[in-house]
């Protein structure tokens, strides 16, 4: 446990903090005595703080981008990328969504907001995407992909571009809606990201009132999620169990929020924990793995075969997206 003797300083990098926090949440599931509500609440605060820092950094980036690319240019940045990582793209929000599958009795099916907080990191830029997506219907086949790519926490150029493209200019935070395309049923769903506004408020005074909440009802736990059925089957849910987490990609999330039903979670979904744990561990390693994998994956072609569980789980999709830009 203690490595501290040799090294007392650590980098206060928002991303590493997020991954550490997620790892803690993940490992708390397997600890004796069940999930400790207090500790996980505190970890979620760290996640939120790190996320806020990360977001503010991204927004700062966005502003800089906007100076250089006032319009249009970002569109060019959107390559004709094939769908595949669509599934993986949704992974991050998925991951976020899953850590705590809620009580089966409770239809609210909220995820661990804090973990989603981490994932939100990724989703934020995405909300910029929807208007963009709508404008570019040919791209609709891979909105999630854009989500992922825009979410890539890489050196930043692609996300910045997407931001500029997607949002109402002048408002670095996005509109309150995320549009998502279900790759299987081709259902386009719009999700209100009210929470996003609340968070944005802390960074950008120009944001408007937070949207109320989910435009569409969150799927009941245990049911296939409409938004990302692909992911549910392919990534993370290794047993092929759908609806393991039963959380929509973008249910609203109050910034000050926290724990969803730790106790119920641990009780009712023992088999989910392995799914979640995979996702979380993936997600947790996501950020740190991202940079290192960038080079390794860059030569892989962008194609749909990457929708294998592992590939999805890996950040390959993100790195490829970034490379594509």
């Amino acid at each position: 446990m203690l490595r501290g003797r040799r090294r007392m300083e650590c980098t206060l990098d928002a991303q590493s903090l997020i991954s550490i926090s997620l790892r803690k949440i993940h490992s708390s599931r397997t600890q004796r005595g069940g999930i400790k509500l207090h500790k996980n609440l505190l970890v979620s605060y760290v996640l939120r703080n790190a996320r806020q820092l990360y977001l503010s950094e991204r927004y700062a980036e966005l502003y800089r981008r906007q100076q250089h690319y006032p319009d249009g240019a970002p569109l060019l940045a959107m390559p004709a990328c094939p769908p595949p990582p669509a599934a993986s793209a949704a992974a991050p929000p998925e991951l976020a969504a899953l850590p705590l599958p809620p009580d089966t009795q409770d239809r609210e099916a909220r995820s661990c907001s804090a973990v989603r907080g981490g994932a939100e990191l990724l989703e934020v830029p995405v909300c910029a995407a929807p208007p963009e997506l709508q404008r570019a219907p040919c791209r609709d086949s891979s909105p999630a992909f854009y989500r992922a790519s825009s979410a890539g926490p890489g050196p930043g150029s692609p996300p910045g571009l997407l931001y500029a493209a997607g949002c109402d200019f002048g408002a670095p935070h996005c509109s309150s809606r995320t549009t998502v395309l279900d790759l299987d049923t081709h259902v386009v769903t719009t999700v209100e990201n009210g929470y996003l506004h609340q968070d944005c408020c802390s960074q950008c005074p120009c944001c408007c009132q937070p949207a109320p909440g989910l435009a569409s009802p969150p799927p009941a736990p245990g049911t296939k999620r409409k938004y990302y059925p692909g992911q549910e089957e392919e990534e993370g849910v290794e047993e092929g169990e759908p609806g393991g987490g039963g959380v929509a990609g973008g249910p609203p999330f109050a910034p000050c929020t926290k724990r969803a039903r730790f106790e119920e979670y641990s009780a009712e979904h023992p088999q989910d924990s392995s799914n979640i744990s995979n996702l979380i561990s993936i997600f947790g390693s996501g950020f740190t793995g991202l940079v290192s994998r960038q080079q390794a994956d860059s030569e892989q072609p962008l194609n749909g075969q990457l929708c294998s569980k592992q590939a999805l789980a890996s950040l390959g999709a993100w790195t490829r997206a970034i490379v594509a830009f």
Binding site: M1, L17, I20, L37, L41, E108, R110, A267
Partner: protein, 557 residues
């Protein structure tokens, strides 16, 4: 009038005055508590006698502002602080007086409690537990508690066992030290359980032990793990009946036909046997993990607190408890804080406090309503924005709250500090002591290795003049509220022979490390002292390291 000149050191009554012309500062030390309760005034005047302006009454002794002013040294600027470390020399004039309607006099009251005036010298007394460095998980001590007389000392460990030590009766020959503590009873209080409905394992770790006051020959204590509280009776048996008619001494039954005469069984002395038996089991009342239990001053009821709820029990009734605090939000996503500790007021049987993970303490009065969700008082100190970091929420979470014996104050422990609150003042603590401020720059590493989640406890001494809490590297700290001095000691087996005076330790935060100082980077964060206890009447302390229990006493001359 008595006056104090700058180059003389005088003592008023039993108050201690130290310093003098070369030290550059004069300190008058006295027990604030006694002073406050006596209803007297305090007047300070400084300057060159005798052409001083008339003394100015600072305030009524019962005025909180005055107390605060003194303790924070905010005396009127015309009258310099009592304690001033500038190199200037101050003359402090004090008039002994008693209170009259004209409010012209004042008195400084005697200094009570250990540590005031003469500092305590702590000596090693005993250490209990395994010697080897390999710590078995089950042996990790998780709670330490003296009983009301101080004769018994109970410890609970992660393996669910309770070990009770008893102090030897002092004998005349050993007048230089108090009795030693020896094992009195050991029993398995809790076993690991499995909740099948939730697929959860319930740890057997003893979270808290609380003693009941002794009412008869037997001793009673409450011990709790995460879910279940048990009332244990510890009784001694030193006699046994002998001379049964139908039973032999070894237990075999006699054939009734062989009985020719009858006799009355009598009690004969036997070797002392201490038995522990569970008298009550209070279960199934907590969904979340129990973190505190506290016995009411009526000695009939007690409370148990988990992360979100507090329940009130009667010691005789196990199948029912009343929920008195419930902070679970309707939507768990809106959860922002949890209950971290709760305690009944030592004197008022209707008052209790509970602390939260957000650094607030709520005082509730059970007479106000059946469900005490609305607090009567909310104690909260505004956060210092300059100290904001990723981990602000974690380090402001209160890990322990303890009332003073007098009931006027309460002490809270968060990760880096100990705060003492006056129940009459809600907006900030009256005293704050930094336990290990040098860790503030290391919070990130402490977060990584999970040490930032350690829950340190704190305790008062019998006279409420000194508070004690633990730290890392097996260090523990004591803060004297009267002299404002603090000391850091180490619980270690090295160089610890009985009656060896403990050497104060010092941690060097940065810069050049002086001799005998320890640098922050060489602290061992695996060696932490989370649990400490102070004898209710004497200067005997029990300090628990990971798996050892140290007992220290003050040096008796």
């Amino acid at each position: 009038m008595n006056s104090l000149e700058s180059n003389k050191v005088q003592t008023y009554g039993a108050a201690a005055v130290s310093g003098g012309k070369n030290s550059g500062c004069l300190t008058i030390t006295f027990s604030w508590n006694r002073f406050m309760s006596s209803g007297l005034h305090l007047v300070f005047v400084s300057g060159q006698a005798p052409s001083l302006p008339p003394p100015r009454t600072v305030k009524s002794a019962l005025d909180d502002r005055m107390m605060r002013r003194f303790q924070s040294s905010e005396l009127c600027p015309i009258y310099p602080e009592v304690e001033d470390s500038n190199t200037k020399r101050y003359q402090i004039f004090g008039w002994l007086s008693c209170w009259t309607k004209q409010n012209t006099w004042f008195q400084i009251l005697p200094n009570l409690g250990a540590g005031g005036g003469n500092d305590i010298q702590w000596c090693f007394s005993q250490v209990k537990g395994a010697v080897d460095d390999d710590v078995a998980e089950a042996d990790i001590i998780s709670t330490v508690e003296f009983n009301h007389s101080g004769e018994l000392l109970a410890t609970g460990d992660k393996g669910g066992r309770v070990v009770i030590f008893q102090q030897e009766q002092e004998n005349k020959t050993q007048s230089h030290s108090r009795g030693e503590y020896n094992v009195y009873s050991t029993f398995q209080s809790h076993e690991p359980e499995f909740d099948y409905l939730k697929s959860l394992e319930i740890e057997e770790k003893i979270n808290k032990i609380r003693w009941l006051p002794q009412k008869n020959a037997a001793q009673f204590l409450l011990s709790t793990n995460d879910k279940t509280i048990k009332l244990w009776k510890i009784s001694e048996r030193d006699k046994r009946p002998e001379g049964y008619n139908l039973k032999e001494e070894d237990g075999r039954y006699r054939d009734p036909t062989t009985v020719t005469t009858l006799r009355v069984p009598v009690f004969r002395p036997m070797d002392l046997m201490v038995e522990a038996s569970p008298r009550r089991i209070f279960a199934n009342a907590h969904t979340y993990h129990i973190n505190s239990i506290s016995i009411n001053s009526d000695y009939e009821t007690y409370l148990s607190a988990d992360d979100l709820r507090i329940n009130l029990w009667h010691l005789e009734i196990t199948d029912r408890s009343f929920n008195i605090v419930d902070i679970k939000p309707a939507n768990m996503e809106e959860l922002t804080e949890v209950i971290t500790a709760a305690e009944f007021h030592p004197n008022s049987c209707n008052t209790f406090v509970y602390s939260s993970s957000k650094g607030t303490i709520r005082l509730c009065d059970m007479r106000a309503s059946a469900l005490c969700d609305r607090h009567s008082k909310l104690f909260e100190e505004p956060e210092d924005p300059s100290n904001r970091s990723f981990f602000s929420e974690i380090i402001s979470s209160i890990s322990d709250v303890k009332f003073s014996h007098s009931g006027r104050y309460m002490m809270t422990r968060d990760y880096l500090s100990v705060k003492i609150w006056d129940l009459n003042m809600e907006n900030r603590p009256v005293e704050t002591y930094q336990v290990h401020e040098y860790l503030r720059s290391k919070l990130c590493s402490l977060y990584e290795n999970d040490c930032i989640f350690d829950k340190f406890e704190c305790c008062w001494n019998g006279s409420d003049s000194i508070v004690m809490t633990g730290s890392y590297n097996n260090f523990f700290r004591m803060f004297d509220r009267n002299t404002k001095r603090d000391i850091t000691l180490e619980a270690s087996r090295e160089n610890n022979k009985p009656r060896t005076v403990l050497k104060p330790r010092k941690v060097c935060a940065s810069g050049k490390r002086k001799k005998d100082e320890i640098s922050v980077d060489s602290l061992d964060f695996n060696k932490k002292i989370l649990h400490t206890a102070w004898h209710p009447k004497e200067n005997i302390i029990a300090v628990a390291t990971t798996n050892n229990l140290y007992i220290f006493q003050d040096k008796m001359n």
